[in-house]
């Protein structure tokens, strides 16, 4: 399990990244993250929805209620141009961090020995 601090820091870029592949809704986002991280990042609903609201308030994403064939409504989220800019910033930061670790630990982290 990832630490609380790491989860908090990575939530925003992960959500932006997922939405950069196309619009999506809350439950699907939770599921995708779970699959991509092999269950390591286990987000709760209590965490995601408030984050989505805040990001929408910050203008990074937009939401829209869509009525489905079953007659049920679902709220879909989409990334905004502002959000894409933010994602680009975040991406370069995370890559920098990633690069440091790659140098230190080897590309896949296998070559590193604790001495």
């Amino acid at each position: 399990m990832a630490t609380k601090v790491l989860v908090a820091a990575s939530t925003k870029p992960i959500v932006l990244s997922i939405l950069s592949h196309g619009e999506n809704y809350g439950y699907q986002i939770i599921k995708e993250i779970e699959q991509l991280s092999n269950g390591e990042l286990n987000w709760t609903d209590a965490m995601l929805y408030p984050v989505l609201s805040r990001m929408e308030k910050e203008g990074l994403i937009q939401s829209q209620w869509v009525k489905m064939d079953s007659g049920r409504k679902r709220k879909y989220y989409r990334i905004t141009p502002e959000g894409k800019k933010q994602l680009e910033k975040e991406r370069s930061q995370w890559l920098n961090v990633n690069q440091v670790f790659s140098h230190l630990w080897g590309t896949n982290g296998q070559g590193f020995q604790f001495t």
Binding site: Y27, D45, A46, Y49, P50, S53, R54, R72, K75
Partner: protein
């Protein structure tokens, strides 16, 4: 029943909506999420009910957390809002409401105020006392490494260490003795001294002063190093360099040389005691009252004129006192060959200095030791008063605040949480409690001198100006205020909003078994307990004072003589001429602290015992004390009597008779050897033989805490040396007779202070602690009853205002005043009976543990509990009836017209 998804969703919504900050938009999104999960579980093949349950569990883990997350994400002022809800932010508002409420119900709040003030005052006083008793010897530097050396001899423990040749030990030997103690492994430093409590005549300048508590030491440097009494004038070096030097305490310097003693050069002055002149080398601060010994003058002498010395050691870091004591015992031959060779020597005691006051019970203590049990008693009594105060407040505030339900309802509607409502009530009582502080400060200022005099303590009033002291008191006060309001705060805060507006809380408080009744029962238990405790303690004291001790204790006075037979003969001759004097005698003094016992062996038997006391009296003393003996003829006509005979007491005779199967009368003529372990090197005689000439009835020479043991009484016609003369008198006041005897005494031209003691006063002092506790019990019981009665009166007054209409209707329907009063009192009667059943066994247990200290004691009588119950009942009934009657007297129609 089949699963209905719509119904399930509806219920889920209801649940979620209870959470605060749950806005409609969020709710719908969460619902959509829930359904997404639900559908997926359905696809996986789960039954609908199970699928919903699982989805609900997963999507809704923690409602408050969810609300908090939304709050955080949504509200830019999240941090500020949190602060605004905090206690400190709301404090001014709480305070405003608190003060308004205190002003509103003035009568009841004044009562609460008075009770709180009494409670805090009693607690503070108890804290001061406990603090004082625990502060003994703490002022001595590195006290944790310092110990007093005592010895075990026969079966008794002594608070001093004996010299090799008792009083005749040479100065060099005395020093060798202490040096040997100092060179024991683990001992860093050792000193010795002795204090003499009896008044001695000291000449300073042109005047004579009777001076008590003179300290003599032959290890002056080590003594001051050890105790570090601070010098105000002069130096330690001057005191140690020469012998026959003296150091005065400040108050003695004032007494001898006047308040301006600092302006005089005392180093030119000398003190003359007996034949010796002592150069004054310094003045030290007075010895603090909470040291385990006291002295007025310290004298540097080559030797101590006593059979042993107060011996103190400072141990090296990490030295083990038990090991050091064993070392001393093992190396006793280097310290004291007599003890090392004696079969009666049982070992060395090392007492930590700080434990002397409360934990020591050795022979010949310098100050009467404190008693832990009395610390507990005072602690318990003050706790009882405090509990009464707190329960009073709780009870009254439950009743009073029950009518504040609408206020609480409004607070809750405006968003106050449980803890915020509770804080309002807590704060009100804390404010009220804090308002008592000025009263407490004034009260303490007035009470401390009285308390000191009463309890024999010396708590300094200067403590009242210490910040740390008030810090503690403020904390205690806040604690009392908080506890007092805790119950009503929690009780009122827990009610849901709607119920608060029904307004039936106040009248509901009146009916049924409530916390109020539980608290009143609790108060009754405390009152009955305290009352019976007081009665028992005073009964025992009465018993002690009235018990036949085996001798007359009234109108007998002891005069210190310290002289040989001729001096005594002159004194007796002179004093006998005083018309009011009946008889003059001499010998051991009654009403004494216990002293050393002696070993003995009945000739013809092999067993040696070590539990007998040796006392001596002349024939006149036996007569004037009225001690019953089997040799009455001799006592009445001493001229006919032998010069010297030995009597044994009844207990002794019975013991020997049982032990060796001899009829008591056959003991007459038998010889008992004292100290059979001693053999005279010249004559080869073993011990000291005493031939039993008769018996005397048991006398309680010591306190009644101790059982009468075997006693030898040596009766003489003309004693060789007389320490104390006893004088029996009649038809004169104590002061008058003292004056007359003093006049005769002065004609003897003795070079010593006139020192006297009344026998009944001696005996009374044996029970000083008990007397103090007994009186304190009475005072505290009165306070406790007062607090409880005030509380009960206030509560009844309040409840009768609620029941006004009921009383009015009952009166219209024909109920008499008596009927109504009976209704009011019956409920208390039942509570009182329950309380009696709870309080009696508890008190029984406590009192019997206390009584176990007395060898002679009262039987616990069940009537005392019933009397205590009756006293409580009468006080309760009278106060309740008086208050209720006030309401009943009003014309019923007025009560019924009132809109409530």
């Amino acid at each position: 029943m089949s699963f209905n998804i719509d119904q399930a969703i509806k219920m889920w919504r209801q649940k979620v909506q209870q959470s605060k900050a749950m806005e409609p938009g969020f709710l719908e999104e969460l619902e959509s999420n829930l359904l997404d999960r639900y559908e997926e579980y359905l696809i996986k093949g789960l039954e609908p009910a199970e699928a919903f349950a699982k989805a609900e569990a997963k999507s809704m883990p923690d409602l408050p957390l969810l609300a908090k997350e939304y709050d955080k994400a949504f509200d830019p002022n999240y941090q500020t809002n949190r602060m605004r809800n905090s206690f400190l932010w709301l404090l001014p508002s709480y305070l405003k409401v608190a003060l308004r409420n205190l002003a509103r119900k003035r009568f009841y709040n004044i009562i609460n105020y008075v009770c709180l003030a009494i409670g805090v005052l009693a607690t503070t006083l108890a804290l001061l006392y406990l603090n004082y008793e625990n502060s003994f010897d703490q002022m001595i530097p590195e006290v944790e490494k310092k110990y007093r050396v005592g010895q075990t001899f026969r079966s008794q423990n002594y608070s001093l260490l004996g010299f090799v040749n008792y009083n005749s030990t040479e100065p060099a030997m005395q020093l060798q003795h202490i040096n040997a103690v100092g060179s024991i492994k683990g001992v860093q430093e050792a000193c010795q001294f002795f204090t003499f409590p009896e008044p001695i005549k000291v000449r300073a300048g042109q005047d004579d002063f009777n001076t008590t508590d003179i300290l003599k030491t032959n290890t002056p440097g080590a003594f001051f190093d050890f105790f570090d009494w601070p010098f105000l004038e002069g130096t330690l070096d001057d005191f140690t360099e020469n012998i026959n030097t003296a150091v005065l305490t400040e108050s003695e310097a004032k007494r001898f040389f006047g308040p301006q003693w600092r302006t005089q050069d005392l180093s030119n002055q000398a003190l003359i005691i007996g034949e010796t002149s002592y150069a004054i080398t310094g003045v030290i601060a007075d010895i603090p009252p909470n040291a385990h010994y006291d002295f007025s003058i310290a004298l540097h002498q080559p030797s101590l004129d006593y059979w042993g010395a107060r011996t103190y050691v400072k141990l090296e870091d990490k030295a083990d006192p038990v090991a050091v004591a064993q070392q001393m015992k093992a190396n006793m031959s280097t310290i004291n060959t007599r003890l090392a060779e004696s079969e009666l020597f049982g070992g060395i005691l090392l007492q930590p200095l700080t434990s002397i006051h409360l934990n020591s019970n050795l022979l010949y203590e310098m100050k009467p030791p404190g008693d832990k049990r009395y610390l507990y008693i005072i602690g318990i009594i003050s706790a009882i008063i405090l509990l009464l105060t707190i329960s009073n407040y709780t009870n009254l505030s439950i009743a009073m605040n029950a009518s504040r339900t609408r206020e609480i309802g409004m607070r809750k509607i405006f968003g106050a949480g449980k803890s915020q409502v509770a804080w309002q009530f807590n704060l009100e009582s804390i404010v009220l409690a804090l308002l008592t502080l000025p009263v407490d400060a004034l009260g303490l200022r007035a009470l401390i001198p009285w308390f000191n005099q009463f309890m024999g303590t010396e708590i300094e009033a200067s403590i009242l100006s210490k910040v740390s002291f008030w810090g503690i008191i403020v904390l205690v006060t806040i604690g009392v205020g908080f506890l007092a309001s805790l119950y009503s705060a929690l009780y009122l805060a827990k009610h849901p909003v709607l119920k608060l507006f029904h307004g039936d809380l106040a009248s509901k408080m009146v009916e049924g078994f409530s916390t109020r009744k539980a608290i009143i029962s609790f108060q009754f238990v405390l009152l009955i307990g305290l009352c019976s405790l007081t009665l028992f303690v005073n009964q025992q004291l009465q018993f002690v004072q009235n018990k036949d001790l085996g001798y007359n204790k009234d109108q007998i006075i002891y005069i210190s003589l310290s002289g040989d037979s001729s001096r005594y003969a002159t004194f007796k001759n002179e004093v006998s001429q005083i018309p009011e004097v009946i008889q003059v005698g001499s010998g051991s003094t009654m009403g004494a602290s216990s002293f050393n016992q002696t070993t003995y062996q009945l000739t013809g038997t092999s067993e040696v015992f070590d539990d007998a006391y040796n006392i001596d009296l002349d024939y006149s003393a036996i007569n004037l004390l009225g001690i019953e003996t089997s040799v009455e003829d001799y006592v009445k006509n001493p001229e006919m009597a032998p010069e010297r005979i030995t009597l044994i007491n009844q207990t002794f005779a019975n013991k020997l008779s049982r032990q060796f199967d001899i009829a008591p009368e056959d003991l007459i003529g038998r010889t008992i050897i004292q100290e059979p372990e001693y053999t005279d090197e010249e004559t080869g005689e073993v011990g000291f033989p005493y031939q039993v000439a008769g018996f005397f009835d048991d006398i309680n020479m010591f306190s009644l805490r101790e059982k009468v043991g075997p006693m030898f009484l040596t009766v003489t016609k003309n004693p060789r040396y007389v320490y104390w003369a006893s004088v029996a008198w009649e038809d004169a006041s104590p002061t008058a007779i003292i004056e007359k005897i003093k006049g005769k005494y002065e004609t003897l031209q003795l070079d010593q202070a006139f020192n006297y003691r009344f026998l009944d006063q001696n005996i009374e002092e044996l029970y000083q602690n008990e007397q103090r506790i007994a009186r304190l019990c009475i005072y505290f019981s009165l306070i406790a009853f007062a607090v409880a009665v005030i509380g009960l009166i206030a509560l009844t007054a309040y409840l009768t205002t609620l029941k006004k209409k009921e009383i009015g209707i009952r009166q219209i329907l024909g109920a008499s005043t008596l009927d109504i009063l009976r209704r009011f009192n019956t409920e208390y009667l039942i509570l009182l009976l329950i309380s009696l059943l709870i309080a009696s066994p508890l008190t029984w247990y406590g009192v019997s543990r206390w009584l176990a200290n007395f060898a002679y004691r009262i039987d616990l009588n069940i009537w005392v509990f019933l009397v205590s119950g009756a006293i409580t009942l009468i006080i309760t009934t009278v106060s309740v009836s008086l208050i209720a009657w006030k309401t009943i007297r009003e014309v019923p129609i007025n009560a019924l017209q009132e809109t409530q």
